[in-house]
């Protein structure tokens, strides 16, 4: 592209730096997968393994001996799916109201929605444990997927999308034809929202899958650990099964990498949308 300017050492250096940087960004993932296929003594050999071994299945055996690993995997999946479904429903409803209705306190309430985005997670850590305790939700999946289901980020994302791409005339016309408000929402708005629902769904699923603080505070029985919590429970000060731990981490990471490979543009745009719009 800039070949006509001739050889530029600083530009070559820049390409090289960015290239090496990319390798450094990927290296931890690469070694996670490589180590997942070696047993514990191999990983800490000199030199350490740099290519895939044959120990994956025995690592998996160790993992399932120490943890109800498959249950944890299904539990994570269950929580993430419930979280996604409920979030899509609540956020699309909220976003629709903020985008298409005039009502008292609208801007104040929307300010409140945005304000909750800035509330640090540690503020809720202690009291939300007590609320869960009072509700009898300790060790229950709903303690993970209900509280964040009307997320500020989701409502914001939906509102932005609806204001820019759902024609107000269409809604007015349907209203004149006698369509009920929930009919308009369900039959006209929701179908038009598909792209935004896809983005928010992906983001919610990933956030739930990775959530650590939530399960750390409310989950008690190992059967109800989500993957991050289960993996963390394998960490011991002296006798960590590194191979098994890497295999578990790799299995927890693969679904995310697949989702990212398929939808990276949508994900990146969605996750940074707060800044760009």
């Amino acid at each position: 592209m800039n070949a006509k300017k001739g050889f530029q050492p600083s530009l070559v250096l820049a390409y090289l730096t960015v290239g090496i940087g990319s390798l450094l960004m990927m290296a931890p993932f690469y070694f996670m997968f490589v180590f997942a296929t070696h047993d514990r003594s191999d990983i800490f050999q000199l030199p350490p393994p740099v290519w895939f071994g044959t120990g994956f299945w025995s690592n998996l055996d160790i993992l399932t001996q120490h943890l109800p690993f498959w249950r944890n995997l299904m539990w994570s999946l269950y929580v993430a799916c419930c979280s996604t479904a409920l979030t899509l429903l609540f956020c699309s409803m909220g976003g629709y109201a903020f985008a298409c209705f005039e009502f008292r306190f609208r801007s104040a309430l929307f300010g409140l929605v945005l304000g909750t985005m800035l509330l640090p997670s540690f503020m809720n850590m202690i009291p939300s444990f007590m609320v869960m305790n009072a509700l009898g939700w300790i060790d229950q999946a709903r303690a993970l997927y209900v509280p964040g289901a009307a997320s500020a980020f989701g409502i914001f994302l939906m509102r932005q999308f609806i204001s820019s791409s759902v024609p107000k005339d269409l809604i007015e016309a349907a209203r004149l034809d006698g369509c009920s408000e929930f009919g308009i929402y369900g039959r006209i708005v929701l179908p038009l929202l598909k792209p935004a629902l896809g983005t928010l769904g992906l983001i919610t699923f990933i956030a739930s899958w990775n959530n650590f603080m939530g399960p750390l505070i409310v989950m008690r029985s190992p059967d109800h650990y989500t993957l991050p919590l289960a993996l963390r429970s394998l960490q011991t000060p002296t006798d960590t099964e590194w191979g098994a731990l890497m295999a578990g981490s790799a299995i927890a990471t693969i679904p995310l990498m697949i989702l990212f490979a398929l939808f990276s543009r949508q994900l990146i745009a969605g996750l940074t949308s707060g800044a760009v719009k």
Partner: protein, 293 residues
């Protein structure tokens, strides 16, 4: 056209209800709790009003101060490099990469969406003293003596900061890329005609145009840096590391409540940390607005 006045409120009622139960109430309750002495084993009836005892306790608590120092250190050491790397990286991608652009962005962004726990576990093996890859690289390529990254107090913070940097640098790069795309290209064309070098174009056009995004990115880094929890939690096995050198305040709050069973003191500390977050966010705002004038 009959529009029921209750309809919009019906649509936002899930938000209102969930926010009231899981947002506002816990917040007010934790303020109340900050003035009580309570441990979960005594039941809700076991609460006792203790005035500002919890706050005096926090002010006299050596570990609380230490955790604040750690948090500040980590927020700066992980936050600043993110922006110092993300800005030039975004400029480079914006100007020179066409076909490989999405690949490079994807590679740098991927850590942001993967599980912090899986990543931190991975890094704790990479940072191992004797046979961790990072030390092997340091000793064999640069012939440094091996560093006890996770065992020694002075080394654990750089290790945590590096992981946080690694995780968020791509996110910031994408933010800056988006901002770069809004700078009109005729600004650069005019500057080139005037004979401005690309370095002075960067200083006089690119950087000033990026200022709003730098403000936004730095604000996010400040807020995020002050609530660091997962990375240090995993790297230090939930205990803070030797000499508590890796214990952030968010982690200390957790330990105060769930390990030491002192919910009152933990709530008081969470409000103190929140106050610091608010003040620093405000100061960031001031700094950027004064620069703009």
């Amino acid at each position: 056209m009959k529009l029921n006045h209750a309809t919009p409120y019906l649509f936002i009622s899930p938000f209102l209800i969930l926010f009231a139960v899981f947002g506002l109430f816990p917040l007010l309750f934790s303020l109340y709790l900050a003035f009580q002495s309570w441990e979960p084993t005594s039941g809700l009836g076991g609460m006792q009003f203790v005035g500002i005892d919890n706050f005096t306790f926090a002010f006299n608590d050596e570990w609380f101060w230490k955790s604040l120092g750690n948090t500040g250190w980590l927020a700066v050491a992980s936050g600043l490099p993110q922006h110092l790397v993300a800005i030039p990286l975004a400029v480079f991608i914006h100007r020179y990469l066409l076909r490989s652009r999405n690949w490079v962005i994807g590679v740098y962004f991927l850590p942001y969406i993967t599980s912090t726990v899986a990543i931190a576990i991975m890094f704790s093996s990479l940072f191992s003293t004797d046979f961790g890859l990072i030390n092997l690289g340091l000793t064999h390529i640069f012939s440094f003596p091996p560093v006890d990254w996770l065992g020694r107090a002075i080394h654990i913070k750089p290790a945590i900061a590096f992981i946080v940097f690694w995780r968020y640098v791509g996110f910031n790069t994408v933010l800056y890329l988006a901002a770069l795309q809004t700078i009109p290209s005729d600004l650069y064309e005019a500057a080139t005609l005037d004979g401005a070098s690309s370095w002075s174009q960067f200083w006089h056009i690119t950087l000033p145009s990026l200022k709003p995004m730098i403000y936004f990115g730095v604000t996010l880094s400040v807020i995020g840096g002050l609530q660091l929890f997962e990375e240090p939690f995993i790297l230090t096995g939930g205990r803070g590391g030797s000499d508590q050198a890796g214990m952030t305040t968010a982690m200390y709050l957790y330990r105060m409540a769930f390990d030491f069973n002192d919910f009152g003191a933990a709530s008081a500390m969470s409000w103190l940390l929140f106050l610091i977050v608010v003040v620093l966010t405000w100061l960031t705002n001031r700094a950027f607005i004064q620069h703009a004038e």
